[in-house]
């Protein structure tokens, strides 16, 4: 391998790692909803795209920094999640009929969100402006583009904050208890429906920040949500449902593999990488590559 190839490899590895950190932020919401609550929210990527567009509106109309805007909008996304969970709980969990119809429900939400975005914004790619979108830092032969570095740091901060919340607050521990044993939760004198509602609200809230970092990294149009469904569930399953550490490890692995594929085989193959990974994981080790066995 000559020097140019080594440079390419180094850059691909670094951008893969940065991309991976961002993938972790995209997945963390599903790690909560699917991994902990067993709610198959396949619409999550669509809410992330919604997050991209709200950040885009704040950025273009008010000139606010997109990531800052997404943090301000966290409560709105939290409430959206609470509303969705309330309907889900009444219509499916109470009736004990969550499987087929529950899946179809979220599939419908995915579709409604996407089509609504198309109707409002059209299918053109949208971009945001921020000081960190253009420049990059150079470390020898390695380029660190800020439009990847800043999202990666924000993503890790988001996951770190969630981890602290899960470990050290009563509600956080109750959410983890509901994941393992609803009966134990009742013994803690907590209402499982209320805890799940909060957890689902949190999972959708993460979509605000994940959406903002997405539109910093790449231009966004409504249908790209679908490319992320595979990534998100591949990472979530590989990471061992509900484990934050596993999610980050799996996300970085996928980021690196995708980035290597794009560098050496061409970008048109990279969507298949995530899904190929997912199919392999499901076929070989459904408990996850990084999860507890």
């Amino acid at each position: 391998m000559d020097l140019l190839q080594l440079d390419l490899l180094g850059n691909a590895l670094v951008s893969g790692l940065l991309l991976g950190a961002f993938y972790a932020a995209v997945t963390i919401g599903v790690s909560i909803s699917f991994g902990m609550l067993d709610i198959v929210n396949i619409a999550h990527p669509a809410f992330i795209i919604l997050g991209s567009y709200t950040a885009y509106i704040a950025n273009t109309t008010l000139g606010v920094d997109p990531i800052l805007a997404s943090i301000v909008l966290l409560p709105a996304f939290y409430l959206l999640g609470v509303a969705i969970y309330t309907v889900y709980d009444l219509a499916f969990e109470r009736r004990g009929d969550a499987s087929i119809r529950g899946l179809a429900f979220f599939f419908g939400l995915l579709f409604i969100t996407e089509v609504t975005l198309v109707l409002v914004f059209g299918v053109d790619y949208r971009l945001v402006e921020a000081v960190y979108v253009g420049p990059s830092i150079s470390l020898g032969p390695i380029d660190l583009p800020l439009r990847l570095l800043v999202p990666a740091l924000v993503s890790l901060a988001l996951i770190g904050a969630l981890q602290v919340f899960m470990r050290h607050s009563f509600t956080g521990r109750a959410i983890q208890a509901v994941a393992q044993d609803p009966l134990a939760l009742r013994l803690m004198a907590a209402n499982p429906t209320r805890i799940k509602r909060i957890a689902f609200g949190l999972s959708i809230a993460t979509a605000s920040v994940a959406g903002a970092v997405l539109i910093v990294i790449q231009p966004v149009e409504p249908s790209i949500a679908r490319d992320y469904i595979g990534r998100v569930f591949a990472i979530c399953v590989m990471g061992g449902l509900g484990s934050f550490g596993g999610t980050v490890a799996a996300a970085m692995t996928l980021g690196i593999v995708e980035s290597l594929t794009a560098t050496f085989s061409g970008p048109s193959w990279s969507p298949a990488v995530a899904f190929g990974f997912l199919l392999l994981t499901l076929a070989l080790r459904p408990t996850g590559l990084f999860g507890r066995s």
């Binding site: 499987s99 087929i100 419908g108 569930f233 199919l279 459904p286």
Partner: protein, 306 residues
């Protein structure tokens, strides 16, 4: 009613539909009717797996497009008649269904659903990168003007009509057979089904292969219908949404549910696409899907009967 009587009845209905379409004597009637019939096949096929065994397939578009693309490939290589190509498309999609099922059907149903979603993107990526069938640029297929004295679009309509009759007959026969009882047992409680003698994995594979195969057959005539096929339209998400929405809106418990759903939603979209816009008509489908699963869990057929 015995199966033979039922088939005769369906054929009479089909002949009446075809006769009516010829009476209207407007090419658009055949174009629009073809789409509705195609959705009857897709919705019925989806329901064989989703409604009868309880496994949700999000990958309709992939099975459908595989059928279409096998026709594109055969069209370049051979001069097979279309019915033979439909059979070939069915075999390709059925085999992919069998393969996907073999790897994922041992797992919980949720994983199967996610895997079908993944499979759809993998297949789309493969087709997009396969230049023989046009790659991302798409492929043109020259449609003959007529076949055996019949206008080609009418011929396509007729083939799809017969396929719809076949699909509905298969679905109804399964419902009343030993296979149907086994499927229902799997849907209700898979562990109990296995403990009561039902070979669950084998039956689920039968359902996926059959369901995928019918979707492939429904997709096979598509290149001749559109004359230009590219991955974005062949793998359109609207196929997946419609095929899930139609059985759930019509009702999944019986063969008639998907038919009702396909006729209602299919016609609605044909009208709405012309009069309003195609995006808005898809939005209506999404809203109806969510509305029905939340408020009318047994679909339209749940409003009648017990």
């Amino acid at each position: 009613m015995r199966t033979a009587g039922f088939v005769v009845l369906l054929l009479v209905v089909a002949a009446a539909v075809f006769g009516a379409a010829r009476l209207v004597d407007n090419p658009y009637a055949f174009f629009a009717g073809y789409v509705v019939l195609q959705y009857i096949v897709l919705a019925t096929a989806w329901n064989i797996l989703g409604g009868y065994t309880g496994y949700v397939n999000f990958g309709t578009a992939a099975f459908f497009a595989l059928g279409a693309y096998s026709t594109v490939a055969l069209h370049k290589l051979t001069a097979l008649p279309l019915p033979a190509m439909m059979l070939a498309g069915g075999i390709v999609s059925g085999a992919v269904g069998l393969g996907t099922g073999y790897f994922t059907l041992r797992l919980r149903g949720t994983y199967f659903s996610i895997a079908t979603l993944a499979m759809a993107v993998v297949v789309q990526t493969l087709i997009t990168n396969w230049s023989f069938v046009g790659g991302s640029r798409g492929a043109y297929v020259v449609r003959p003007a007529e076949v055996m004295g019949l206008d080609y679009v009418q011929y396509l309509f007729l083939l799809m009509l017969l396929l719809a009759v076949a699909a509905v007959t298969i679905a109804r026969t399964i419902e009343r057979s030993r296979l149907g009882t086994g499927f229902a047992a799997i849907r209700d409680d898979e562990v109990a089904a296995e403990a009561n003698g039902v070979p669950t994995l084998r039956l689920k594979l039968v359902a996926t292969a059959l369901s995928g195969g019918l979707m492939g057959m429904a997709g096979a005539p598509l290149p001749y219908y559109v004359t230009y096929l590219d991955p974005a339209s062949g793998f359109s998400l609207s196929y997946a949404v419609n095929t899930i929405a139609m059985p759930l809106i019509g009702g999944t418990a019986s063969w008639i549910g998907p038919v009702i759903g396909a006729v209602l939603l299919g016609t609605l979209q044909q009208v709405a696409t012309v009069t309003i816009s195609s995006a808005l008509s898809l939005l209506i489908v999404g809203l109806l899907l969510v509305g029905f699963v939340v408020a009318a869990p047994r679909g339209i057929i749940g409003w009648f009967g017990k």
